[in-house]
Amino acid sequence: MNKYLNHIGIFILALIIFSCRENNEPLPQEEIFVVEVPSNFEDLPVPESNEFSKEKIELGRLLFYDPILSGNNQVSCASCHIQSKAFTDGDALTRRGVSGEALLRHTPALINLAWMPGLFWEGGAKNIESLALGPIGHPDEMNQDIVELVKELNEDSEYPLFFQNAFGPGDIELTQVLKALAQFQRTLISGDSRYDKYIRNEDGVTFSMQELNGLSLYEEHCSSCHSGFLFTDNAFHNNGIDSSWNDISNEFIFTGRYRITFDSADLGKYKTPTLRNIALTAPYMHDGRFESLEEVLKHYSTQVKYSPSLDEHFKNEDGSYGIPLSEEEKRDIIAFLNSLTDEEFISNQRFSSPK
């Protein structure tokens, strides 16, 4: 069993020896922590300002599952990011937040975020450390005043000790909350699906003819955007589900990537979601409009709508739009997509509630 090869311990060790820590104190030896990465993955990017430690990852997990993060102390990150559904929640537009109002975007799955340069559906959050401020502060999500949150944590009977174990002496600071949450989320690595075992020649896993055919259809039609070991190019595309974006309410949330760049070429573009664990993360698209993979493939084969920002991949030489697929081809693609489900990811106790 050599499925985990790319240990990055030496890299982390090198960083600790040569990098400059804010307090100029060397890290204690026990803080060096190796996060294992599947051998078919690229190395794990770790920001110098937030190197892994076991204590910080554990603290991040505790916070992720703790409703203390919300204004009414009833909603945690895990209320909407549920492990059994690859850290999404199964709702098109969830009402699991503090207000009970439907959100305006579908809960994104939390899979291999460490390799993702822009977070949220339109990539507005530049790193995982900054990302948590969105849901924590949003009135319909966790509705938490961040000054109040830090006060609550400092007054808690357990957290001050946990934070001191992770970050050293002193009062709890917001930056520590964000760093710990980011560390835990960076460990949410999924790379142990039947597909991964198949390409690693592991455990004698083989593909059926249908799956093999689905894999080759995926490579031909889907892999330009759902590319590489992440099954996403981490870029933004207009996949033809809408053709006009006149609603600029809610700080332009309905305009997609345009909200960040204000470039009309980005109207209706959203980040390519990973295909990993796709069978677990229904419904689909940024607003959860498609209930099943069958509906998604029906869209791509016959329902793609034209607009000036429509991705080139959907424009055909004969002037039509979309990816023509027979019913059999759709079934084959779905059979392949099912091989991307990672049972270990959704049952791994290190990602589960610590309580």
Partner: protein, 265 residues
Amino acid sequence: MKSLKSIFAVLLSLGMAFTIVSCGDDDDANTPDPNNVEGTGKLTIHFENYFDATAGIDIELDEVYTTSSGDSITVSSIRYWISNFILFNGNDTAYQDEDGYYLVEKTADNTREMIVFDEVPSGTYTRLQFALGVDPANNDTLGSGKGELSLSNGMFWAWNTGYKFLRLDGTYYEGDSSNYQPLRIHTGLNAYYIKKEIPLSANLVVTEGGDHIAHFMVSVKNMFEQPNAIQLGEKDGIWMFFTEEPAWNRMNENISNMFMFHHAE
């Protein structure tokens, strides 16, 4: 002479090696003036917020002021980040306040116009540099906790990572209308980070044990007219710098002209 040179070269390379290997935040900060390392004095930088500094018109919250484009405005709060001070003596960096981020504000709850440096090396300073906003390296990650950078005062965007550099909230109306609309000027983005370099017309002299103050006048009016005439209605009063565009470019150029050095004592 030759041996002196080689000793110097050895010393220089040792020094460089030391510089490369060591990297504490404190090593570079508070670099003493090479001309005078005798001691330090206190220096306060005072940002006096005016509506019209030239005419001596103070800015009072919720008072009505008129811009030269004919818009009437009221201000309910104004806040901005001032950061990365450097004092120069000629071409030499003589004092650098690293990781210094300060929130200057005038709101219903608080007025803060003073930034205090307790230990500035005594000496003569001819130029001063500071920034309005947060430098790109620190603007891309929220919650670093450096200086006064804080997320507790609404000076950031959560869904589009970055700090708001200047935030003015209030109301406005155009021309003969008296129908007040919300006015929101929230600047940000790395592209709009403003570095100001100000020659000190009279040199700033910091004496050992002295208590000095450098006065800046901040003219809010300039935001609407120096040099670009701004009609607030062009953007329906919502001037949010989400991304680069001509209207923001014009206002940001004006914002960089809000700060005028007055005198030091």
